[in-house]
């Protein structure tokens, strides 16, 4: 089936070429980073995790969101999702590969990465994260590919596929819970030390992931004629709406706890997040954009009429994705470090090479999605024309 990704029209070829170029550029800068060290990024002694880890955190959520298609279809027989669960699984594959790549480029000594397996450390959440992420990747590649193959041949999938898909449902929840535990278990970081970290991660995952999937479906409809179906898109939009509302509620709940109890250690981080500290307010500006996007998107999505209109739905989904990317991909990580344990406000700004490497990894992810979706579309075309 892989050969189906090697043929396509001119637009497809240009798109793939552009992604390859971006990935190549990222790779070039990664070689420079290997040579110089991580000092090539904007990270410092105080802000020791930055853009790479933030992207990883956000993308684990996107990966987990496949469960929002799988659960209704396989557990509750929601037939409308039947055609597109594979799209969700393939998105999970691409997202997990991006996650693992972002962790890899963030390591100071990447050649030693196998030490995590050679010297297993069950008390370390990063150890468990490696296991659950790779397990989830395996499950989704195997099930997605097998189901697509069987569709192509017009036969039902083999018996072992279903238990594996059932396994992917709690596994999806686990990958994002484990990632949240990376942050939520650190006694010294008041901004992250909250039990609601895992529920927040899940809520934003189930908003941003399906939002991205809706956008992908709209793109597929526009460029390939594949129609996911009004009912499926509508159901996904409903999921995004409820998940976004929940995510916003969770943030508000956090704000109450922090600002009502007024414990300085917690207040300072939120003050930095929304207003800035000591003149460093870049993140605060981003968060304003994030909040506005979220509210605008929620207002759009609340009305069923707007959910039915593709252009408005697309705008709302872009708003959701952008808002949550800013919140998880920028705000969450840096704010954990500002102020530092010694009350210092250290500025963090990603450098050019850091951004180039980040874009390169995103390009790799989009390349994988493009290839997998192209195969899917080609198979669907073969099946539908028969």
């Amino acid at each position: 089936m892989l050969e189906k990704a090697l043929t396509g029209n001119r637009q497809y070829g240009l798109w793939v070429a552009a992604l390859l170029a971006l990935a190549g550029l990222g790779f070039f800068f990664y070689l420079r980073q290997l040579d110089y060290g991580l000092g090539l990024t904007g990270m410092s002694r105080d802000v020791s995790w930055g853009l790479y880890v933030a992207q990883f955190t956000f993308l684990v959520g996107i990966a987990a969101s496949a469960v929002m298609l799988v659960l209704p279809y396989y557990l509750h027989d929601y037939k409308a999702f039947g055609k597109i669960t594979i799209l969700g699984e393939f998105l999970a594959v691409a997202a997990v590969i991006m996650c693992v790549t972002f962790i890899f480029v963030d390591l100071g000594q990447p050649s030693r990465v196998m030490n995590v397996l050679l010297h297993p450390s069950p008390t370390s959440i990063l150890f468990w994260d490696m296991i659950v992420l790779n397990g989830y990747l395996l499950i989704n590649i195997v099930t997605g590919w097998t189901v697509l193959q069987c569709d192509r041949k017009g036969i039902p999938p083999p018996a072992w596929v279903k238990p594996l898909i059932y396994l992917s449902i709690p596994w999806a929840i686990s990958i994002h819970t484990v990632t949240a535990f990376i942050y939520a278990g650190l006694p010294g970081r008041g901004f992250w030390l909250t039990a609601i970290m895992a529920p927040r991660f899940l809520a934003s995952a189930f908003a941003s992931g399906p939002a991205l999937l809706i956008l992908f479906c709209l793109v597929l409809k526009r460029f390939t004629g594949f129609d996911a179906g009004r009912k499926a898109i509508g159901a996904m939009a409903t999921i995004v709406t409820y998940a976004l509302a929940t995510s916003i509620f969770f943030v508000l709940v956090e704000i109450f706890t922090v600002f009502y109890s007024q414990v300085p250690e917690h207040v300072e981080h939120y003050r930095f997040l929304f207003a800035g500290l000591h003149g460093y307010d870049t993140i605060a500006h981003w968060m304003t954009v994030s909040a506005l996007c979220a509210l605008a998107a929620l207002l759009l999505l609340i009305y069923p009429e707007t959910r039915q209109k593709d252009p408005l739905l697309a705008m709302a989904c872009i708003g959701v994705f952008l808002s949550l990317w800013i919140e998880k991909g920028l705000g969450l990580i840096v704010t954990g470090f500002v102020p530092s344990p010694l009350e210092k406000v250290t500025r963090y700004a990603p450098t050019g090479p850091e951004i180039a490497i980040t874009l390169g990894v995103w390009a790799v992810g989009f390349l994988i999605i493009t290839i997998l979706y192209k195969i899917f579309i080609s198979v669907r075309r073969d099946v539908d024309t028969v």
Partner: protein
């Protein structure tokens, strides 16, 4: 019937894996042809190591002269700690911070400025319940039986999870190659390489040779006291029993072993 392309590829793939597998198992089961002796506490001509049940450090900042950096200079010189000249890449094993930053919970608005701004030495607390050890995915940082939280620079993958976990800001990452930035190399101690995290190790390499930590020895005012807190007759234990020491962020449950006598 001739094999299909799929079957051929599957068999070829499995063959390739099968050819690689034996060498993998060989690596995993490689036995070292060498064994090392057990701990020998004294050999002719070599000073015996200092041993303790639980090492701890007492800091008496009242004895620090203003503008004194003897402990920092001694430590960083002994251990080839680089000086990058900018706060972004900074590496620090022991440092000085104002009281209001180290003990913000004990600072109040009416406190005299001099007290708020008084500089105190800070270093790794070698906690009894260290969160950094808990989170390390390779056990590159680990707790020794004598209480020292140790660093294995050979194993560190530079993920910086320990830096996120440390509530005290005690750890530093080598964001670049440190060698060009070491003012004066000490041949008797290695440098580190780019991409690993480093911190104070209570001079375990000196303890092994029967010497006290460099910072303790360098302090002429005896503001730093190092010893076995588990030994009721040790100088540090007697001092701590007499005074009322406080520890940084003790409410977090990390059980830090750097005691401040203010």
């Amino acid at each position: 019937m001739p094999p299909s392309r799929r079957e051929f590829l599957i068999v070829a793939g499995l063959t390739a894996v099968g050819m690689v597998c034996p060498s993998l198992t060989r690596i995993l089961h490689a036995k070292t042809a060498v064994t090392a002796s057990g701990i020998v506490t004294a050999v002719d001509g070599m000073t015996p190591a200092l041993r303790a049940k639980r090492w701890a450090m007492a800091v008496v900042p009242g004895k620090c002269p203003s503008d004194c950096r003897a402990c920092i200079d001694a430590c960083h010189l002994t251990h080839n700690v680089p000086d990058f000249g900018n706060p972004k890449d900074e590496i620090q094993w022991i440092g000085l911070q104002p009281f209001e930053r180290i003990f913000p919970g004990q600072t109040y608005p009416e406190m005299p400025e001099a007290s708020k701004k008084r500089m105190l030495p800070i270093l790794c607390n070698h906690c009894d319940n260290p969160p950094c050890v808990r989170v390390c995915p390779t056990q590159a940082t680990f707790k020794r039986a004598d209480g020292i939280v140790m660093m294995d620079y050979h194993r560190c993958i530079g993920c910086r999870f320990c830096m996120a976990a440390c509530p005290y800001g005690a750890r530093s990452m080598n964001w670049r190659d440190p060698r060009p930035f070491i003012r004066k190399i000490n041949d008797d101690y290695p440098t580190r390489t780019r991409g690993v995290v480093e911190k104070c190790t209570f001079c375990e390499e000196r303890l092994r040779k029967g010497m006290l930590p460099a910072c303790v020895v360098a302090c002429e005012e005896k503001a730093l006291l190092f010893g076995d807190i588990d030994d009721p007759r040790s100088e540090i234990r007697r001092l701590l029993d007499k005074e009322r020491p406080i520890r940084r962020r003790a409410e977090l449950g990390t059980k830090p072993q750097a005691y401040y006598i203010l």
